[in-house]
């Protein structure tokens, strides 16, 4: 195929122009790969965070009730599913904590420490004391570190929890740091103690379930909804809003990628037009030798497409280096969901973007190549 050898020589004959064209597409490829990686990293972090720090399935009371009364029965129903690792019946409520002259509003969670630890790995977050102490000490509490600080509560101090007319005195047997906003309001209690504070008998407000397979959550929730009248909800449903938001953001991203592609495409088209302008006479000569319009078009489309793979490769390399660099930047955890930005580069992304580079090169090459094929040979040969 003589078209290919001509295209090849043209490219090798214009190293500088070719370098800049390759660079412009490589940059576009790099930026897109990194952006896709960042979005994917954020999504993954978000899921990890959600999945790690909250129940995979949450069961709420029946529609017309405030509490789950037969929570032991519910637990045994839930535990029939093989994916269920833990089912923690929890009594969550609000109260005031009082220590000396300090008063703070708190959220108390009463639960069986063994199940709750299986559910949320509470013990991993303890900075002092042992969460399991709540199994044996009825009037004991584990307190969020920020709350303890605000109350000026020391280890082992007794403080009061007040709710409406009820008031109990508990001992701070542990301090916990969950690294979330909860730390300024959280008080863990034994389930029975929380029930006393609430004063509504042997009830819980919700059940949290942890699964061996996080993607089984919708099925487990659906199963529970079918078999009981309680309201079960998967983590996917709970974080639906934020996942939807990510989807919406994806649409904007795609528009952004298309704009980048168009800019890169114009860069290539510009170079191709320059090459063709410099080669006008040559195109005329090739026509005189009998090259037809299709062949002329082929030469320049090929020239453009040949630049695709090196652009994709270089762009991929740039993206890889950029991802490594971005991974080392520390960001405040309050702004982002963790203290490091994560860029997830998947092979698929590289493949898609490589195809994208080829397509951009192909499309950008068509118009200049078409113009070249339509040149009048007499005028082309006469060009200086």
């Amino acid at each position: 195929m003589f078209e290919l050898s001509i295209a090849e020589r043209h490219i090798l004959g214009n190293p500088r122009m070719v370098l800049f064209t390759v660079l412009s597409v490589a940059l576009a490829v790099g930026v897109i790969v990194v952006l896709i990686g960042l979005t994917e990293g954020y999504r993954q972090n978000l899921i990890d965070n959600t999945v790690e720090n909250s129940p995979h399935v949450t069961v709420d009371p029946k529609l017309d009730e405030d509490y789950i009364y037969l929570y032991r029965t519910l637990t045994s129903i839930a535990e029939e599913r093989p994916e269920v690792l833990a089912a923690s019946s929890r009594l969550v409520g609000r109260a005031a904590a009082k220590y000396k002259d300090n008063v703070e509003g708190v959220t108390f969670i009463g639960a069986d420490p063994v199940q709750e630890d299986l559910l949320l790995r509470v013990r991993e977050d303890m900075i002092w004391g042992d969460y399991y102490d709540l199994r044996f000490k009825r009037y004991a509490a584990v307190v969020g570190d920020k709350l303890a600080e605000n109350l000026e509560l020391k280890r082992g101090d007794d403080f009061r929890l007040v709710r409406q007319n009820a008031s109990i005195q508990v001992k701070a047997v542990g301090i916990i740091d969950t690294r979330t906003g909860l730390d300024s309001t959280l008080v863990y209690l034994p389930l029975e103690t929380a029930q006393i504070l609430l004063g509504d008998g042997d009830v819980v407000t919700e059940m949290g379930i942890r699964l061996s397979d996080i993607y089984a959550a919708p099925a487990v929730a659906a199963d529970l909804n079918e078999r009981t009248r309680y309201k079960a909800e998967s983590w996917q449903d709970k974080s639906r809003d934020i996942l939807d938001q990510l989807e919406t953001q994806q649409v904007y991203s795609i528009i952004f990628y298309i704009l980048i592609a168009i800019i890169a495409g114009f860069g290539i088209a510009n170079t191709m037009i320059m090459i063709i302008t410099r080669r006008t006479k040559e195109i005329g000569i090739l026509m005189a030798m009998g090259a037809d319009r299709i062949s002329i078009m082929k030469i320049f489309v090929l020239e453009s497409v040949i630049l695709g793979p090196p652009s994709a490769l270089l762009g991929g390399g740039l993206a890889f280096v950029a991802a490594k660099f971005i991974g080392t930047i520390e960001v405040p955890a309050e702004i982002y969901i963790s203290d490091k930005m994560t860029v997830i580069l998947e092979l698929d992304t590289f493949l898609y973007v490589a195809v994208f580079a080829l397509v951009v090169n192909f499309i950008a090459g068509i118009y200049p190549a078409y113009k070249a094929s339509r040149l009048n040979p007499v005028e082309a040969i006469a060009t200086e």
Binding site: R9, H10, L12, G13, E282, G290, A291, V378
Partner: protein
């Protein structure tokens, strides 16, 4: 000898708005194996006529017949095919492809014709040896002299065994020694292969070595001289014009 080209009432008008009549009712018949020179002042329509014969340009009116076939209204694809099979071009400047060496340049029309690379290379080397460049096969145009490049261009024009070779001032850019060499080369090939040569030239020395001289003025053939032994016989019309 049969007619290889017949041109009937050929007209070419350039421009929209101010019109320029480049060819005005030209009738011309060229026989196979003939060596023809077209002379005339600048702007007389020589190159236009040559471009019509070379199927690079289309007439405004009239007909062009090539080997008994009316090709006036041939499609661009068909014209490209005919240029490749039937015609060879030699330009004033060699117009070789700068990134390709001598052999590759000569191979190009053969590759366009779809010939196998090995076969094309063999044919190109044979031709370059014939034009005396057997030791310059792998030099690029910028490594060759003007005369050498023009010889490569001649080899390229002849590569596909065209029935007609068209030269637009083929020696216009060369010194007289190189000019003579190129012309002798063309003449030798003409005798060997019975190809038709149509040359546009300013060089009367070269024109007078051909079989027939056409003089064009303002898009009309004003004079036609045919070789007769060592001299030329001109038609009455020439004497009137002169």
């Amino acid at each position: 000898m049969s007619n290889i080209i017949e041109i009937k009432k050929l007209r070419k008008v350039y421009g929209d708005g101010v019109e320029l009549l480049a060819l005005d009712d030209v009738d011309l018949t060229i026989k196979e194996g003939e060596v023809l020179a077209i002379v005339g002042p600048s702007g007389s329509g020589k190159s236009t006529l040559l471009n019509m014969i070379g199927l690079l340009d289309t007439p405004s009116d009239g007909e062009i017949w090539l080997k008994g076939q009316n090709i006036t209204k041939a499609s661009p694809k068909e014209r490209a095919r005919l240029r490749n099979k039937e015609l060879g071009f030699i330009f004033q400047y060699h117009h070789l492809l700068p990134e390709f060496d001598a052999v590759e340049n000569v191979m190009m029309p053969l590759l366009i014709a779809g010939m196998d690379k090995k076969e094309a290379r063999h044919r190109a080397i044979t031709l370059l040896e014939e034009v005396g460049l057997g030791d310059r096969l792998h030099n690029r145009p910028n490594q060759l002299s003007g005369g050498q490049n023009q010889r490569v261009a001649v080899a390229r024009a002849l590569a596909g065994h065209p029935s007609i070779v068209i030269g637009d001032e083929p020696t216009g850019n060369l010194d007289s020694k190189s000019s003579d060499m190129i012309y002798e080369l063309l003449r030798k090939l003409n005798r060997q292969m019975n190809q038709t040569f149509i040359l546009v030239t300013h060089d009367m020395d070269m024109a007078e070595k051909t079989d027939r001289i056409l003089r064009l003025v303002d898009g009309r053939i004003v004079c036609e001289m045919r070789r007769d032994g060592d001299g030329f016989v001109s038609q009455d019309v020439c004497r009137q014009n002169e």
